[in-house]
Structure formats: structure tokens, C-alpha cells
Amino acid sequence: MLWNLPGIHVPADPLYPGAPPFLTNTFLLTIVGSILIIALMLFVGRNPKQVPGKLQNLVEWVFEQFLNLCEQVAGPERGRKFFPWVLTIFLFVLFANWWEVIPGIETIGFKSTDTALSPACAHVGSQGFLLFGQYSNCITPFFRPPSTDLNFTIALSIVTVVMTQVYGFVVLGFRLQIGRYLVFNQGIMGFIVGLFELLLEAMRLISLSFRLFGNLFAGDVLLVVISFISIGVGAIPFYFLEIFVGFIQAFVFAFLTLLFFTLGTTPHGHEAHEEEHLAETAHAEHERVASALAGAKLEEAHAQ
């Protein structure tokens, strides 16, 4: 056989044998991705031109689209407050997702003597720089896309859920924010709705983290398996698919973050009813004035 199917396993690998638990190959690309984003923004923002070049134009367009989205969903005031957070998450997740289509990621690494990958791996030390045949999968890669590590996605989701609470406390205040979960003055239904709100926070955390991880890990496995069965050539269309999926999932994560922030800072129950009541009153008043004006005009016409 020309090569073996590469080892597919969920946990990230240590960066080097004996590395501390946090120092994994996904962690390395997380740091590299962050540095790239910071460098890109510094490069574009350092010397902005009145007539923007291609890169500045692209960055400005992305900023504009997300600012519009934030203002449409959360309103102008809150939208501008959430915008930096939402766009940062989008760019961070986008960079984390798109690593997987770069050649060399997950295929270059140090030789692994783990016999779980292949029995021949025990003797991989005697092989040269390139590994073929039964030794071909005896590799622990230097780099692995961060989004294929559950630690990355769960950490990002925890940050999002915690920030939802922070924004809730800042915008609504302590009493309203706590009153969202502990409802004692609206009977048993109010209490159950409070419990539902608590359960929703857990559901948000799980849905955000597992969606991103599931999509990206599945994409990663897809690329590996298709490359294995088609000598690499057959995987080319799937690389385009993964670029698309990476973008979509980054947008979904950022948009749901925005939606959760909006939900977390929107008063509901008593306050929402009050707002609706005010709107209804204003509408009724508007109609009353309009009909009075119409009546007055009619009378004027009769008089003439």
C-alpha cells in the first residue's frame, strides 16, 4: 500500500513529547491566528488612505457589513457596543477555520512511535524525511486547525455566555438581570420560565461549541479520508467546500453571539409589556388625532 489512513482522533496532540497539557498543536495555531489578525489590523489601520487600496477596501467592507448587521439586530446604540466583540469573534473563528485548507497543516510533524496508529510505527525512527507505505501515518502534526479542538470551541462559547451576562448586568442592572432567572412574584409559571432561562444559557453554550466543533472536525476528517482514497486529487473540490463551510460557521458563531447579546440585554416580562403598552397607546393617540383632523377638514368643506 502506498500509504495508510492518517490517525483520526478527537483530542489535540502535544506540541512535542512531554509538553505541558495546554501546549498542543491547536494552541499553537490559535496563537499564530491571533498574531495574524492583530498584524493585519495594525497594517491596515496604521496608514489608512482616503482612496483605499484593495486590502483596506476589503477590511472596511467587512467592518461596514458587520456594523450594519449589529445595528439592525440590536439597534444603533447597543449595536455599536456589541460590534467590536462580534467582529473579533468572526475574524478569530474565520482564521481558526481556514487553517485546515492550507497544505502542510496536519501532514508535517515529528515521527510518532505510537503503535496505535500502525504497528510499524515502533520502527519509524529508522525512516528518512518522507514517510511512505506502512510508516506514512506515523506522524504527530506540528499544526492542527484550532476549531477541530473541542477545548477551543468550548472556551469561546464560555467567553460568549459570560459576556452575555456581563452585558446583561451593565445594560439592565443587577435587579433586572437576576430577576430574569429568579422569578418569585409571577406564580408557578413565572418560576418555571425563570428555570427555562437558566436552561437556555446551558443550551447556548452547548449549541455554540458543538456546532463549530462538529462542522470543522467533520470537514477535517472528510479532507483526510477523500485525500486518502483519491491520491489527493479528489479532495480539491472539498477544499472549496471547506472554505465555504469555514466562512459560514464563522458567521453563524458571530451572528448567534450578537443575537444572544441582544436577547441578554432586552428586558422581558414586565418591561416588555410596558413598552408594548406605550406603543399601543401612542398608536391609538395617533389614530384619534388623525380622525379628528379628518373630521375638521370635512366640516370645513361643508361650511364652504
Binding site: L69, F196, L263
Partner: protein
């Protein structure tokens, strides 16, 4: 009347919402709706199983947990969509 009125009154930057953005937003919402209902039921069942194993009341707490979880999922979907409708 102003001589040059903005073409797009939604925002002063003239970006507006494009159809691709609308499709992406819809895609996000559809995915979240499905996940919320299924996750609610799952969390409810696991909580019910845990309570049943502690109190030896199988399957009462599991059934109650499933129903409450489903209700929580539907409540979550309702809140998600209602906020989005207000915004849109």
C-alpha cells in the same frame, strides 16, 4: 426639501443589508432552532435520568424532564425568533 436625499435611509454609510447577509442570517437561525429543540429535550432527559437514579422513581422524573426540556427548547426558539422579528 434637501437637494440630495440619501438613497438608503437604513444607515448613513449606504451599506444597507444585502440578500447574501439575509440568507446567512436565515441559515444561522434555522440551525439554531433545530439545535435548541433537540438540546432542550436531551438536557431534560439527562436531568430526569439523574434524578431518577438518585430517588429511584424511574421513569417519572425522566418523563417530566423530557417534557420540561422540550418546553424549554420551544420557549428558547420563541424568544430567539421574537427578538429577531422585532429587530427585522
Amino acid at each position: 426639501m434637501a437637494e440630495h436625499e440619501p438613497h438608503n435611509t437604513q444607515n448613513s454609510r449606504g451599506g444597507g443589508s444585502n440578500p447574501y447577509q439575509g440568507a446567512l442570517v436565515a441559515f444561522s437561525l434555522v440551525g439554531q432552532v433545530g439545535l435548541m429543540i433537540s438540546l432542550g429535550a436531551l438536557l431534560g432527559v439527562f436531568a430526569g435520568l439523574f434524578v431518577d437514579s438518585k430517588l429511584h422513581t424511574t421513569p417519572i422524573a425522566t418523563i417530566i424532564g423530557l417534557l420540561l426540556g422540550l418546553a424549554a427548547g420551544i420557549y428558547g426558539v420563541f424568544r430567539l425568533i421574537s427578538t429577531f422579528r422585532k429587530a427585522g
